[in-house]
């Protein structure tokens, strides 16, 4: 089935919300559904839509996969508690790090995360809860990039010919699949989500695993998590489309206490973009760049910090 985009200017958020709520109700009937809430605008919007449609028959999980950002879990749960939507936590750290062990190729990394999410985590949740439906926040750009062969998005299954019913034992419901990011933000706003959610910069499905070049280990995730917290704190004021920290695998020469120190490098990217299809680096003041470098080189093992100056294309937003 071909998916037709609903352009931002054609979107009537109220009508869209009503149609999706009706559709989720119709599909799920009086059954149970589950969904994973990461706290991003897509999964948050789906959570509220699903809750409107199904009430208690939607079971919402925060999957603690070990590759989330600092304080993510606490802030997501608090935000949705305030909205009256209960969120359960599923600790799956061991499963994810086991699946990522020794994997360095970006596509294999994405695949390892996809399999762990869809097969192990959701498969088990579905079995234990009796749910037959998985609601998720796939958007139009994910489909487009995966089909075009630019990047395999973690949440693209049916568009690649995967029958989730047969493979994993549940049916996917994707209420946002006709929207690009700005349209999702408009729907999120109309649903009454707080600005911290509807204006939240995008964050990749494979989370901090997408921010580590080379093997994803708990130690390396800890390094990039600390850098990410600094970058998000320092660059929030920019209102840029996305800003991120990447841990490189290359080691570079540095010095500590007057001695040679062979250390790690963090790359910072900050993007001006409308919809992630094209982008250019934000022209950050050097005061800000230097403060970023100073704070990031205080992370143990990091001796070098760079700032991305290439556009997309030929770069992509993320490095992995």
């Amino acid at each position: 089935m071909e998916i037709v985009e609903i352009a931002l200017e054609d979107l009537n958020p109220t009508a869209f919300i009503q149609r999706q709520v009706d559709e989720i109700s119709a599909v799920v009937g009086d059954g149970l559904a589950i969904n994973a809430l990461s706290g991003g605008v897509d999964s948050s919007t789906v959570t509220v839509l699903g809750h409107k449609a199904l009430g208690d028959r939607l079971l919402t999980y925060f999957v603690e996969n070990g590759i989330m950002r600092q304080n993510e879990r606490a802030s997501v749960i608090a935000t949705f508690e305030a909205l009256g939507i209960p969120v359960q936590v599923l600790d799956a750290r061991q499963q994810f790090f086991d699946a990522l062990k020794g994997v360095t190729d970006p596509e294999e990394k994405r695949e390892a995360i996809t399999q762990t999410f869809y097969k192990e985590v959701f498969g088990r949740l579905v079995k234990e809860s009796g749910a037959r439906y998985l609601l998720q926040g796939t958007i139009y750009t994910d489909v487009e990039e995966t089909v075009a062969g630019i990047k395999r998005q973690h949440n693209i299954l049916s568009q690649l010919g995967i029958d989730t019913e047969a493979t994993y034992g549940y049916t996917l419901v994707e209420p946002l699949i006709q929207l690009r990011k700005p349209a999702v933000r408009k729907v999120a706003h109309a649903l009454g989500l707080p600005e911290s959610i509807y204006n939240r910069p995008p964050f990749p499905g494979p989370a901090l695993a997408a921010r580590v070049i080379g093997e994803v280990t708990p130690e390396r995730v800890e390094t990039v998590r600390a850098a990410t917290a600094i970058v998000e704190e320092e660059l929030a004021y920019t209102g840029a489309f996305q800003y991120l920290a990447i841990l490189h695998e290359d080691r570079v020469t540095g010095m500590r206490d007057g001695k040679r120190a062979f250390g790690q490098q963090i790359e910072v990217r900050c993007w001006e973009s409308e919809d992630a299809r094209t982008g250019s680096p934000t022209r950050l003041p050097f005061d800000v760049l230097e403060r970023l470098a100073e704070r990031i080189t205080a992370i143990p093992g990091v001796v070098s910090v760079t700032y991305n100056i290439a556009t997309k294309p030929p770069s992509t937003i993320e490095a992995v």
Copy 2:
């Protein structure tokens, strides 16, 4: 023997030149000496000092090691021809690439280059020419950094306890060893070298091999050579202390013609520094940074370009 620095403010270039010329004459006597001229300010200054002292009894070689910059050979030879100093070319590309094959550790890389220079290349030259002396442009900072254990400079031998007479069959003569870079530039100017030489930004002894993270192959050198030419052309106007391009080993996701392209990254560094002991990134205008990125991503295989924003320390000027 402890080496005592001659500070810039204490330097009388005319007296220094006379003293070094006398000393070279005294040491070499009526024998022959050789030296390798890379075109940098240090080796150029030594070449002129040595020529003043020894005339035709100094044999000056441009060692084509395959890791020099674009047009380096032609421009060095032309410059010294204009000064009436003949330069012979020694093609040693095969020897250097053989020595660098499979070597990825920065210190091993430096060591491979050092051994190839001092043992194979100079050893052979000395044997074939009958020279017993090697003049070279070691400066005070090289000694200091090597002794402090920050970075093994390629030209430091006797300070590490290496007896070149016994090991390689020649005696080292190092007329610039008491000077830091600004003092060398003053001497070079006083010697009548052109500004393109006396104001030339420093370039590392291991040449482009120091600009490649990971294995140094002819193909990878070609990529960083093209990037270096762009960086040097675009940043000459800054008058910065040093500016360079580094080829990373990490591969990052990019896109070409609408398709995913897993490609290479070039890091640009441009340093404000007095004497390389400390440094901070030049606050380049984004117009310049973006033009650099645009030109560098036109090099085959390169999809990403970054700019260094860390200071030295904890970074160093070079990455390798």
